[in-house]
Every structure is written in structure tokens, then in C-alpha cells.
């Protein structure tokens, strides 16, 4: 039938689609009219065709809707809404039939099969627990500590407050609760959750309610409550956001009892009930805030024998024939995941098979991988699979030799390809295998580079279609480097450390760059070409280090030879222009040193020399500051006395802004100057250096260099003292006018 239909229908569609652009008559006649026995259609020649139609069954109609509905559109012989109705009716009928069926089936087979074995054999009491005795006991102990808080008062029931008995009690006895109010249980899946549910079911807890923690602090009920939060590592808590779940939870626990004393009727209540959190991964980023506040218990995988014993008991109850060997294989494959074992057993049972080793193998094919860390992936890359594990998985030699799929799967599963690559990179050189002509190393590097180009194409250019291949580029490390008995791979910090160091240095260069920008603003764009990125590191930084560390003799500032004085002046000029400073610091052993700020430096010059230079630089900076102050005041004077507002004063202020070093520097330098004012070289009233020699040279260089250090210029040449300073033509729009010294003395 359907074949028939298929062969016929396309013809119709064909014809119609061809004629559609000319006339719409056929379509309307079909869609609107009642079902007729023929369909009329017109082809390109204008010929009318009549097509006979076979009586349609509902199944066929459905098919038509499903396959051709889009193409034919309104050409259906039956109105669309009717068709939908029919469909839904069919569906309903089908559903009701399905609903009926399982009841019969279940009743017919085994009534008890309706529940999962995992639920059915959940331990009911504390003594049912298997393995991890110590952990379980600790958990219980912790819970017992709450007893006084939770039950102590309920029995007496005095002095009830509005909020109920718990509160009352807490105010009187804040220390009766355990210090850590949250218990954090962690362990691989299939172990932890299983047992905690058990604790939960202990008779201590009269009532099991799991209130949503966002709404209530304590649930006001007469019966005590134990709160269990499962899968908390999946909670949203990773961000710094304050309204995340984990954050709220921590806040909840930290309400201080004494706060409570002050406002008894306050709306915030402390928690009086134990909270237990369960997670698989205790190191999950979302739990970082919770960890310090919680008592942590870690579950270990129980010994395989215990698990096998337990499984055998269950099999006996269920009437399932099981070999011990098969069961131990099952446990080994599942790596101790009891939940997984039980599910598998139930699955086998449902097919009415006996538990033999081959059956177990068949049914555990797709069992999840439990431990997928980067380290484990690396270890399986660099060491062949152990004989024991191979046996557990039931692989023969041939299957074991086929490694590509297994390893690529493992790398994929751990989800951090780049971390695995870094691990491979840092580990392969440490291996001892003899490699005379480096051929293996070459190959390894070849693959690493392939990995790198793939991943950068992925992340930089968005070619995410490449991601399935990534894992395969790392697999070749196995044939190249695998070795029995090789040392275990350890996490290498090298790459990470290097990254951090790079970031620090980048910051230093950035601040140096800022200094250069500032200097170039002051000097009409002089330093700007040096501040570009590669030039800064490659050319400027190494040479500036040398330029600012000349060989000076460490002597008092006043007893210097003239040529040294020239050197010193130039050094101080450069350093103050670039805003480089020597900062005094105390080393760990108590020794004083001068550190160059902001730069990593090579400690070329001696302490005493640096001391000298630092003083001079500070003095220079201070003198520049006094300049600014003077200018600022004259600006104000001018505007005050002569009414020349606006232009001059605003210009001065702008200058001041430009000249001032970044905030945070100034207080420090000032404090430093104030510190050892005693052994500073002599200065005049304004804090400027009195320079004995090299006047000509200095004034000449000053005239070239800076527009604003002209006060220094004036001070070094006393004869011209009647004019304090004048504005030089620079790039500022300041007004030039002579000012008497007496006006601001």
C-alpha cells in the first residue's frame, strides 16, 4: 500500500508545483472542497489532468502529514484542524492502552519489581551501613551534638517565645551547638549519597522536611528538622555574587547568638537545626566559601569484599543465581559504585538471566567512568594499563593493544584537553627512555604543535568543529612514551608559575609605559616613540637600566667632583622625568635597600649610591612641587587682584594637573623627605638644591629641557633675581607676564 502511495503521490505534487505559478485553481479545489474521487490539475501546456485518488486510510493520512505536509500545504483533502483532532484522538487512545498494559504485565510477573533495587535495599538503620565505619560514626557523633539543642528543651517546654521553643533555648545556651553547623559529606558517586540517606532515616529525626533554604531560616514546626542538601556542588555559588545559594547558606550559619540577645524579636533567627550537605567533588569552585564553615567528612570507597558480600546477600533475597566471581568482576568494573552494581543486577534480573561473568561483561559495556581527572588521563597516557585492570575489563591482548579509542575517550572525558597537553609537555622530557636520535621527541613535539594549532583555531577563530579531533592529537604520546613501571605523573606547576610571572612583568611594563606617557606629555611628545610595545621591552628597558646606574662614588652630596656632579644631574633629570624612583625598603633580614619603582631591576648600583640618588630625585620632585604651589598662588592672586580670571588661573591649574605624579606617590615622597631632612644636601628656602658648580651647563640644559623648571634656573643664577620667573612659550596657552618675587614673599 504505502509503496503504492509513495509512487503516486510525488507525481501529483510534481504536477501541482509546476502548475502553481500559473494557476491556483487546483489547489483551492482540493483543499476546500469535500473529498472527491478525482483531482483536477493543469500542466504547463494548459492541459487538464484528472488524477484518480485511492480511498485514504487514517494511517496514510498521518503519513501524508508527516512526510509531505510541508510541500503540499493547503492541498490536503481534509481540513487541517480535523486532521489534528483525529491525531490527538489516536494518541489518547494509544496512551490509555499503554496505561492499562503495564499493570497487567507487572501483576503477571513479579509484583515487587516495581521499585528500583537501589531504593529497596537502601539501608534503613545505622547498622545496615557498609564500610566506612569511622566516617559514619563521626557523622552520627556530629548529629548527636545537636541533641541538646534540638531535644533538650522540647521536653521541658518552659518560657515559650512567640517563635517557638528552639529560639528560647539558643539564647540561653549558645555553646551547646556544635561549632560547625554544616556537615559536608563528599565522596565519589554511588558511595556517599547512599549512606547519607541512611543517616537521614535515623530515628532521631522525627520529621523529614527539606525546606527550601531561601525562604525560611528555621521551619516553625513542633518537630525538629534535619536539613539535607544534596548535590550541593552543582549549586550556584561560584561567582562573587552575594545572592548565590552557597552564600546564603553561609550567612545563615553565621548569625551570631549575641546579636540575637540585642533584638530578641528580630526577624533574623539563628539556625538551630543541623544541615547536611552532600557533594561528589569537595574541591568544586562553588564550595570554596562553604568549606571553612563546615565539618568535612570524606567517604572512601569501601573494600571490594564488603561490596561483593552485600551484593551476594541481595542476590540471595531476590532469588538471583550469582557466581561470586561474576560479582567481583562487576564490582571491579564499576570501581566500587554500589548503585551502579545494583542497577546492573536488576537489569540482568529483568531479563531472567543468571549472573555469570560473560553476562556481566555484556551489560556493563557502557558503564560510566568514575575517575576522570587530568592526572588520571595523563597516567594512562604514559603508563600502559595494568594487567589487573585489563583483566577486570576482560580485555584480551589484542583488545588491550587497541588503545586509540580508549585513550581518546579518556582524554575527552576529563574535559580539559589543554591541561592534558601541558601535562604531556612537561612530563615527556623527564622520562628516561633512551632516545638516541631524538626521533620520538620530534614526533611528540609535532603532535603537540598540531594540538596547539587546532586549539587556537578553535578558540581564536571559533572553528569549534575541530574539537572532536583534539583528543586524538594527544593519543600518540602513548605509543611513543608508554613504559611499564614509569614514575607516576605529577601535576606540574611550571607552566602556571610562568604564566603568573609573565603577568607580573606585564604589569611592571605597563606602569613603565605610563611613566613614559607622562614624561612625553611634559616634554612635548619626546618619549612617546619609546613607549611602543616591543621597543619598550627590547630596547628601552635594558638600556634605561644601565643609564640610571652609573658608577658614582658614595659620598656626601657636597663633596663631589664637577664631572660627577654633571653625571648626577643628568641622572636625576632622567629619573625625575621618567618618574622612576628608588624606594627604601627593608629586607627580610632587616637590611635596608632601595628598590627601583616601577621596574624590575638588576641591582647594579650599591646601596649608598642609590641613597644619594634617591635624595636628589626626591629633592628635585619636591622643588617641582613647590613650583606648582607658587604658580597656583600667583594664579589666584592674579585673578583676585587684577580680575584676570579664567584664562591664567585655569591654565595654571591644568599645568598643575599635568605635573603632579599619580596619586599615592606624593604622600610617600613627602614623608620620606621629612624623615631624613638632617642629612639632605643643603637647600634654599623653597627646598631647592643649592648647586655650587656647573651653573652654566645646568642653566643651558634647563633652558632646553623643561618649560617649568625655570625657577631652579633663576635660583642658580642669583644676579637676575629681581624677576622670579616668566612664562615661556610652550604648548600651553598661558599668559606671559613678569612677577616680582616680593609679591609672594
Amino acid at each position: 500500500m504505502s509503496v503504492d502511495f509513495e509512487s503516486e503521490f510525488p507525481l501529483l505534487g510534481d504536477v501541482i508545483s509546476r502548475s502553481l505559478n500559473r494557476t491556483t485553481i487546483p489547489s483551492t479545489s482540493i483543499s476546500s472542497g469535500p473529498p472527491s474521487t478525482t483531482i483536477r490539475a493543469t500542466n504547463f501546456d494548459g492541459k487538464t489532468l484528472y488524477l484518480r485518488r485511492k480511498p485514504a486510510t487514517s494511517a496514510r493520512r498521518k503519513l501524508a502529514v508527516a512526510t509531505q505536509g510541508r510541500h503540499v500545504g493547503n492541498l490536503l483533502e481534509m481540513p487541517f484542524h480535523k486532521m489534528m483532532e483525529q491525531l490527538s484522538e489516536d494518541k489518547a487512545r494509544e496512551l490509555s492502552r499503554e496505561l492499562d498494559q503495564p499493570d497487567h504485565a507487572l501483576a503477571a510477573t513479579v509484583g515487587s519489581d516495581s521499585s528500583l533495587w537501589v531504593d529497596r535495599y537502601r539501608p534503613r538503620t545505622f547498622t545496615d551501613l557498609m564500610g566506612n565505619d569511622r566516617v559514619a560514626r563521626e557523622a552520627l557523633e556530629w548529629l548527636k551534638q545537636w541533641d541538646k539543642c534540638v531535644f533538650g528543651k522540647t521536653s521541658q517546654g518552659k518560657k515559650r517565645k512567640r517563635d517557638g521553643e528552639e529560639e528560647n533555648y539558643d539564647v540561653n545556651d549558645p555553646h551547646q551547638r556544635p561549632k560547625q553547623r554544616i556537615l559536608l559529606l563528599s565522596g565519589p558517586p554511588g558511595l556517599a549519597g547512599y549512606e547519607v540517606m541512611e543517616i537521614n532515616a535515623r530515628p532521631i529525626v522525627d520529621d523529614r522536611i527539606r525546606p527550601t533554604l531561601e525562604t525560611g531560616y528555621t521551619v516553625k514546626s513542633t518537630k525538629p528538622v534535619l536539613i539535607i542538601i544534596d548535590e550541593i556542588d552543582g549549586a550556584t555559588g561560584a561567582g562573587d555574587n552575594s545572592n548565590t545559594f552557597v552564600h546564603k547558606l553561609v550567612q545563615l550559619t553565621q548569625d551570631k547568638p549575641q546579636k540575637k540577645n540585642r533584638n530578641q524579636s528580630g526577624d533574623k533567627r539563628t539556625i538551630l537545626r543541623p544541615i547536611i550537605c552532600i557533594c561528589n567533588d569537595i574541591n568544586a569552585s562553588s564550595l570554596t566559601k562553604l568549606r571553612p564553615h563546615a565539618a568535612q567528612l570524606r567517604f572512601q570507597k569501601p573494600a571490594d569484599i564488603h561490596t561483593v558480600k552485600r551484593l551476594r546477600e541481595i542476590c540471595a533475597i531476590e532469588g538471583l543465581k550469582a557466581e561470586t566471581r561474576a560479582l567481583s568482576t562487576l564490582v571491579a568494573v564499576a570501581k566500587g559504585d554500589l548503585r551502579g552494581c545494583l542497577n546492573t543486577l536488576q537489569f540482568i534480573r529483568s531479563r531472567n538471566e543468571e549472573v555469570t561473568e560473560s553476562v556481566v561483561r555484556k551489560s556493563t559495556k557502557g558503564m560510566k567512568e568514575a575517575d576522570n581527572s587530568v592526572i588520571s588521563a595523563l597516567n594512562s597516557l604514559f603508563t600502559p594499563m595494568s594487567k589487573k585492570r585489563a583483566k577486570e575489563l576482560g580485555l584480551n591482548d589484542e583488545a588491550e593493544a587497541r588503545y586509540v579509542e580508549r585513550l581518546s575517550h579518556e582524554i575527552d572525558a576529563c574535559g580539559k584537553d589543554s591541561a592534558v597537553a601541558v601535562g604531556c609537555f612537561s612530563h615527556y622530557v623527564t622520562l628516561r627512555r633512551h632516545d638516541a636520535n631524538f626521533s620520538r621527541y620530534e614526533k611528540a613535539n609535532e603532535w603537540l604543535m598540531t594540538f596547539d594549532s587546532f586549539s587556537s583555531a578553535m578558540y581564536n577563530d571559533g572553528e569549534f568543529a575541530l574539537s572532536p579531533y583534539l583528543a586524538y592529537t594527544l593519543v600518540p604520546f602513548y605509543p611513543l612514551f608508554q613504559e611499564r613501571g614509569a614514575p607516576r605523573v605529577e601535576r606540574s606547576q611550571e607552566d602556571w608559575d610562568n604564566l603568573q610571572l609573565t603577568k607580573t612583568n606585564e604589569e611592571i611594563y605597563k606602569s613603565l609605559n605610563r611613566c613614559l606617557q607622562a614624561a612625553s606629555t611634559r616634554h612635548g611628545g619626546d618619549y612617546r616613540h619609546l613607549a611602543n610595545w616591543p621597543i619598550l621591552q627590547l630596547e628601552l628597558a635594558p638600556f634605561i637600566n644601565r643609564i640610571i646606574s652609573p658608577q658614582l662614588r658614595p659620598i656626601n652630596g657636597q663633596h663631589v667632583r664637577p664631572d660627577e656632579r654633571v653625571l648626577m644631574n643628568r641622572l636625576v633629570d632622567i629619573m625625575s622625568n621618567l618618574e622612576l624612583r628608588f624606594i627604601q625598603e627593608r629586607l627580610e633580614d632587616g637590611q635596608l635597600t632601595y628598590r627601583l619603582d616601577p621596574s624590575s631591576d638588576l641591582a647594579l648600583s650599591r646601596y649608598a649610591v642609590r641613597h644619594l640618588v634617591a635624595q636628589e630625585v626626591d629633592a628635585r620632585v619636591t622643588s617641582r612641587h613647590t613650583d606648582i604651589v607658587e604658580k597656583g598662588t600667583t594664579g589666584k592672586h592674579a585673578s583676585f587682584f587684577r580680575g584676570a580670571k579664567g584664562k591664567s588661573s585655569s591654565g595654571d591649574l591644568a599645568d598643575e594637573d599635568v605635573l603632579r605624579p599619580p596619586p599615592g606617590k606624593r604622600p610617600r615622597t613627602d614623608a620620606f623627605v621629612a624623615d631624613d631632612i638632617a642629612d639632605r644636601p643643603p637647600t634654599d628656602f623653597f627646598g631647592r638644591l643649592i648647586l655650587a658648580s656647573t651653573d652654566n651647563k645646568k642653566s643651558k640644559s634647563n633652558a632646553r629641557a623643561s618649560n617649568r623648571s625655570s625657577t631652579t634656573n633663576a635660583s642658580t643664577s642669583p644676579p637676575k633675581f629681581n624677576i622670579a620667573y616668566k612664562y615661556k612659550e610652550g604648548n600651553s596657552a598661558a599668559v606671559r607676564k613678569p612677577v616680582k618675587v616680593s609679591s609672594f614673599l
Binding site: N437, D452, S453, S456, N505, T521, Y527, I548, Q551
Partner: protein
């Protein structure tokens, strides 16, 4: 007081010491009244930027030297703030769009449109147009270059663009074809000698020619580096006498040490050692391509004639891959292993065949 590099930088086309024919050409271009878009390219430290500023001065007069530097803030499409330093005078503006990283297109578009749509205000200006200087044009992203090409045609009446790049290879063809290409070659040893003598005369001391030639040998045609080096030398030993050692930048000596390590021994332990050194260099923000090139140069100096070509060939291959990849250290190490293997094969060739 500025460093000598800036202090004695030539300000006008007449002051330039070398590439005289280039200077005359620039002069005639500037006076012709039909000034095109330009692309200056050449190795680092050859004098591209100096020539650009000189040309500007020729075009507009000394007014271009009144510079004003400020920081402009642009908004990226994702509303991130990008801070760009802009140097400008009344007649021109100078930007380094690579400061904005991936968002350089935004900067280029906004800034150029803004400049191009305003006419020259100063009526007494020599030229009707303004000039935009774009530094590090070869690190412009493809998008930014594409954005540039339309602007260059549309606003020709108001604006000229001068690009400055190290090589033209990373610029797209449409841009190159819209510009007049100006190659600024590295100065020859004699040119550098004259410049350095000039600088020392201006500073006021005598520079012995042999010292100068030592510095020049070391600088590899980079005049900026040479002058910086001269200043450092002068600071270290003011009288320039006695046995002078021309100090190289630390990273260069470090790279040479790495090369020596590679040559002297070829073992896994040595690979490890070299890797440490590479990490050290990378963490000091030395560009990996520069590291590879410097080390390779040194290695080639020291190995036998027969494998020199191979060493260089592989350095080139790995540098290309390094540019496409993101983990630079992989590629550096791969090259080291390759070179070690080549070296071993060469020495013990008989054993392996």
C-alpha cells in the same frame, strides 16, 4: 631633559643625515600640493617616525611641533572601555590602534570619521587637509584594515593617512595600493657613524671612531638602539677610555647562552634546561618570535656549514606555526629538539644510517 635619542632627533628634512634622495623626494611631494596617502615601512630603528615628523613639518611648518597628548576613551561593542593615547597638534593626529587589541576597528572608525568630517579650522594653514598617522599598522586586525580602506577613499579631500609599519606583508593589498610606499632602509655603518659623531658633538664630547664602530656592529642597523647604547656607555664610564665592553641588552646575552647550551650538549636533560630558560625569557615579555630569531642566529653562527641552511629553514617553519598557535613554548621547544636532532645526525651520521 630627554634622552639623547629624542633630544637630538632631526626636526626637519634638511637635518636628516642619510637617505638624502628620500628626503628630497619627500620635500618635493610636500611642496607639490598633491600629497598622497603614504605608507612608511622598514626595519625598526631605521628612522621612519623621524621622517614622518619631518615631512609633517615640511607640510605645515613648525606649528606641528606643538603637541598635545591626551587619552581618549572609546566604547567597544560590548561596552568595554578602551583607553587610547592620542597625540595631536592643530594639523595632525597620531594614534597607535594596536593598543586597543581586538577592538582596533572601533577606534579606527570613530576617530577617523570624526577627523574626516571636520574641515581644517585654521584658515592660515598651509594645507587644506589634516594628517592621521597610524603607528604599528602591520598589527592592525583585518577588520580594522577593511574599515580603513573605505575611509581612505571617501574622505580624501579632508584627510591624508600616513601608515607606519615594519613590513608590508601583513597589510591587505587594497591598502597598499591606495598608498605611496616609502621604504626606509636601515642606515649603513657609515651613516650611523656620522649620526653618532653628530650626537656626540652636540652633547659635547669626543667619540672615538672605534668605540662608535663597536656599538654600530652590535646594534644591527638599529640607530635608536645604537644611540641608547651610546648613552648607557657614557653614563657607565664618562671618559670613554680604557677597555670598553659594549653591553648588549640582557635578553640578548641570555638568548646567546641558550644557543650555546643547545650546541654543547644534546640530551633530554639539556632540553629541560633550555625549556627553563625559554620560560624565563617569555615571562619577561620578550616576543617569542624575537627569541627564536636571536637564538637561531647564534646557533647558525656556531654550527658547521653543512647544516646552517637546515637550522634556518626549520626556524622559519616553526616561526610560522608559532604565529598561528597560542602556546609559544611548544613551538620553541619543538625547534630546539629539531636542531638537536639535526646536529646529532650530522655528527654521528654514520651511526644511524
Amino acid at each position: 631633559m630627554s634622552l639623547w635619542v629624542d633630544q637630538y632627533r632631526p626636526r626637519s628634512l634638511e637635518d636628516l643625515h642619510y637617505h638624502q634622495e628620500l628626503s628630497t623626494r619627500l620635500k618635493s611631494l610636500a611642496s607639490s600640493g598633491d600629497f598622497p596617502h603614504m605608507l612608511f615601512y622598514g626595519p625598526s630603528g631605521a628612522g621612519k617616525k623621524t621622517r614622518i615628523t619631518c615631512t609633517l613639518r615640511q607640510l605645515f611648518g613648525p606649528g606641528v611641533e606643538k603637541l598635545k597628548i591626551d587619552q581618549r576613551v572609546f566604547l567597544s561593542p560590548s561596552k568595554r572601555k578602551l583607553e587610547i593615547n592620542v597625540v595631536q597638534s592643530n594639523f595632525h593626529i597620531e594614534i597607535t590602534p594596536s593598543e586597543a587589541g581586538n577592538y582596533d576597528r572601533v577606534v579606527i572608525q570613530e576617530l577617523l570619521k570624526e577627523i574626516a568630517q571636520t574641515q581644517q579650522v585654521d584658515l592660515s594653514a598651509k594645507q587644506r587637509f589634516k594628517v592621521v598617522i597610524i603607528n604599528e599598522a602591520d598589527s592592525l586586525s583585518r577588520d580594522a584594515q577593511a574599515a580603513l580602506r573605505r575611509t581612505m577613499e571617501k574622505y580624501m579631500s579632508n584627510m591624508r593617512i600616513i601608515l607606519c609599519a615594519n613590513s608590508t606583508s601583513r597589510l591587505i593589498a587594497p591598502i597598499k595600493s591606495r598608498c605611496l610606499l616609502m621604504r626606509v632602509a636601515a642606515p649603513s655603518a657609515e651613516d650611523m657613524q656620522t649620526v653618532m659623531q653628530h650626537v656626540s658633538r652636540r652633547v659635547g664630547f669626543d667619540l672615538p671612531p672605534d668605540v662608535a664602530s663597536k656599538i654600530i656592529d652590535d646594534s644591527g642597523g638599529n640607530l635608536r638602539k645604537a644611540i641608547l647604547c651610546l648613552e648607557a656607555l657614557k653614563m657607565q664610564s664618562p671618559d670613554l677610555s680604557g677597555s670598553l665592553t659594549i653591553a648588549k641588552p640582557d635578553w640578548e646575552t641570555y638568548c646567546q647562552k641558550v644557543a650555546d647550551l643547545i650546541i654543547s650538549e644534546q640530551t633530554p636533560a639539556r632540553v629541560m634546561e633550555v625549556r627553563q630558560k625559554f620560560y624565563e625569557l617569555l615571562s619577561h615579555c620578550i616576543p617569542p618570535t624575537v627569541i627564536l630569531k636571536t637564538v637561531a642566529d647564534r646557533v647558525v653562527e656556531r654550527v658547521d656549514e653543512a647544516i646552517k641552511a637546515d637550522v634556518m629553514h626549520w626556524a622559519a617553519v616553526y616561526e610560522v606555526r608559532m604565529r598561528t598557535g597560542s602556546k609559544k613554548i611548544y613551538h620553541l621547544e619543538a625547534w630546539v629538539v629539531k636542531v638537536m636532532s639535526l646536529y646529532k645526525h650530522f655528527f654521528y651520521g654514520m651511526d644511524f644510517d
